[in-house]
């Protein structure tokens, strides 16, 4: 069996799409796991052969209890693959489950396929400089898949499948979620933006990020991004804007890096951009190494002129 689980519905649908491809090669069934309340039939309509609907006391996602639930579900040892979402929850769940099942695990795969009946994965290592191709020698193959890597299958109203209700009691752990604070959402989605103007330490103060926004406004589907220090250290922009290895990974058509030095962790987040333009006053800045075009100059001089030039060109 190929099992698919994420507590994020959208990711689950994407996992089902990849899962159905695997089940075809492996000649297996595809099962979705639903923990808590939601409509299980939608998973059937999106490719699942059946859905485990798990009833449990645990109200919200917590890695310890949820991994025990998944382990309990898989205790027969017949399963070939467990696909989980590579969001923060999935990332802490996957290795815990894999460890309890004494099996291998690949996080954030970029490709997943069957070759000579083996499960093969690819993932990016060395901050994006290399790709590791790995083969599972253990069962089940636990793999986390980044959001939006695969498109969900189109909904098929005709599909039918079995809903299997499971009641799984797990003993609680001595840890508990004591608070969940919604961060003020800014509604920015850098991961799907077409053009990103990204700010780094070259900016002198928070207010000046306006200038970056002004440049971005000239493009359809734009977003303002930033490097780690702007978000994590200075808190000038919320985390939604943060691009890099441990922030968001982006793939716009045009990425404009303004006053960003180009640390390798930042580069890892922008590798998939089509065109990268870098603006930095330091000619030696690493960012120029990873850019298609570069302008050496003070961003406070460059940006206003660039905004004018872009406006002019577009009219």
């Amino acid at each position: 069996m190929v099992l698919v689980y994420s507590e994020d519905k959208d990711i689950t649908l994407e996992l089902l799409s990849k899962g159905s491809e695997l089940t075809e090669s492996l000649d297996e069934e595809l099962s979705a796991v639903l923990i808590g309340e939601d409509d299980p039939d939608q998973y059937i309509r999106h490719g699942a052969d059946n859905v485990f609907v798990v009833k449990t006391d645990q109200e919200t996602f917590k890695a310890e209890e949820y991994s025990d639930i998944l382990v309990e579900l898989m205790k027969e040892g017949e399963d070939e693959v467990l696909l989980l979402g590579a969001d923060k929850n999935g990332q802490e769940l996957a290795p815990r489950v894999a460890s309890k099942l004494d099996t291998g695990c690949v996080s954030e795969c970029t490709a997943l396929y069957v070759e000579n009946e083996d499960i093969i994965t690819e993932r990016v290592i060395y901050s994006g400089k290399a790709l590791a191709v790995e083969r599972f020698d253990s069962k089940p193959a636990v793999v986390t898949v980044p959001p939006k890597l695969f498109d969900p299958l189109p909904e098929d109203e005709e599909r039918s499948g079995e809903l299997i209700e499971k009641e799984i009691e797990v003993s609680p752990y001595p840890s508990k979620i004591v608070d969940i604070k919604e961060k003020e959402s800014v509604g920015v989605d850098v991961e799907s933006a077409e053009t990103i103007v990204s700010c780094g330490r070259g900016f002198d103060n928070k207010e000046d990020i306006e200038i970056a926004q002004e440049l971005a406004n000239n493009f359809e589907g734009n977003a303002v991004g930033c490097s780690r220090p702007i978000s994590a250290d200075l808190n000038w922009l919320p985390e939604e804007h943060w691009i890099g290895l441990s922030g968001h990974k982006v793939k716009p058509r045009l990425y404009i890096a303004v006053g960003i030095s180009g640390q390798i962790q930042h580069i890892a987040g922008i590798r998939d951009s089509d065109i990268i333009l870098a603006i930095n006053k330091d000619e030696d800045a690493l960012i120029f190494e990873s850019a298609d075009y570069g302008i050496v100059g003070d961003l406070y001089e460059v940006l206003p002129k660039l905004i004018e030039a872009v406006k002019e060109k577009k009219t």
Partner: protein, 369 residues
């Protein structure tokens, strides 16, 4: 591990500001404040006075790593640790050590070494500054020039003649505090390079220095100065290697990026040979520096090896910076690339703490003894 620590420190705290310090001729006060808690201002000072109690090899490693990012900060650190701290460690009384070494190790005051005069550079014997004993203090009159950190230092070793008749045997060394009456800072020089190091004139006008601040005995000054300079030269050689190493690293990087005739210039043998020569000479110079530092640590002819190391390393620094600019072409001649600063900074290493010619004198004197 010392190397890693200092390298990380220099990358984080020195590199980002080095250009600004150079362009604006700003003394590296803030860097020095950050160096103190890491023990970098008391490298060889014994632990009981708050230092790290390390050896000369460690000292050389520290100076090289700092100089790689800012040669001016390198020389300030070198003078503080070797020319000033070392003589106190070696010749100071227990009281002097307790008082001054702990101040220096903690970086509460920066040290300066006041030997050179307008008419007495390497020829210390013709020094004109005098010190006369008057009851419980000495009265010092005279003038010093080209004093590294002269305008910034709080603790200085000042050399003056206690006996004008005896030539260099009449020189004595004094521990002077910059707030003593009669201490005056003159002009700060505009220099070609190492701009962040403030080098100044000093004037002493009936400066009263307590008797107990005499370092060693009367007449020990010349011996103290020469032995301090031996240790100092190890540091200057390390500084020169730092400059050369940076020149090499910048050249390697640039030559791989810069494309001409459709390929990176690093693919041309003319460039490859330059890089190979630089790297080989740097390694040789580093071994010479370690050789002289080991002579210091384990016993041996420090004067000779330190002179050899400084001679070789300083000429290398000038050549390496020169070649680095050549490799960078027109861009290297502009202040957009650091090699321009390296070139300006390198030259002084052939001059201060004894010119190359003086180093050759020292080496040949040892050979022809």
């Amino acid at each position: 591990m010392i190397e890693n620590m200092v390298r990380e420190f220099a990358e984080k705290e020195i590199e980002p500001v080095a250009d600004e310090l150079d362009k604006e001729s700003k003394y590296p006060t803030e860097i020095l404040e950050k160096m103190a808690p890491l023990g970098l201002l008391g490298i060889m000072i014994p632990e009981k006075y708050g230092g790290a109690g390390l050896d000369a090899v460690s000292f050389a490693i520290v100076i090289e790593e700092i100089s790689k990012k800012c040669a001016a900060t390198g020389v300030v650190t070198e003078v503080h640790n070797s020319l000033v701290s070392w003589p106190i460690i070696e010749y100071g009384t227990e009281e002097q050590k307790e008082k001054y070494l702990s101040i220096l190790a903690k970086g509460e005051e920066i040290g300066a070494f006041a030997g050179t005069e307008p008419n007495a550079g390497s020829d210390l014997g013709s020094m004109e500054t005098t010190a006369e004993l008057d009851g419980d203090h000495y009265v010092i009159n005279g003038q010093k020039t080209f004093i590294t950190s002269g305008s910034e230092a709080g603790v200085l070793i000042v050399f003056a003649k206690t006996d004008k008749e005896k030539g260099h045997r009449g020189i004595s060394a004094f521990l002077v505090e910059s707030d003593m009456d009669g201490f005056q800072v003159g002009d700060i020089y505009d220099k070609m390079g190492i701009n962040a190091n403030h080098v100044s004139e000093l004037f002493f006008d009936d400066m009263k220095v307590p008797k107990e601040n005499l370092l060693g005995e009367e007449g020990d000054g010349y011996k103290i100065a020469l032995s301090a300079l031996d240790r100092g030269r190890i540091g200057i050689a390390a500084q020169a290697i730092g400059i050369a190493q940076r020149a090499l690293e910048e050249s390697v990087e640039y030559s791989q990026q810069r494309e001409q005739f459709g390929r990176p210039i690093s693919k041309f043998q003319a460039i490859q040979w330059k890089l190979a020569d630089m790297a080989t000479r740097i390694e040789a110079a580093r071994l010479l520096v370690y050789r002289s530092a080991m002579a210091e640590d384990k016993g041996g002819n420090v004067s000779k090896y330190a002179a050899m190391a400084k001679l070789f390393a300083s000429e290398l620094a000038v050549d390496a910076a020169n070649e680095a600019i050549q490799i960078h072409g027109g861009y290297g001649y502009t202040d957009e690339y650091v090699v321009e600063r390296l070139y300006r900074d390198a030259k002084i290493t052939e001059i201060y703490e004894g010119t190359s010619e003086v180093q050759k004198m020292v080496v040949s004197r040892d050979l022809l003894r």
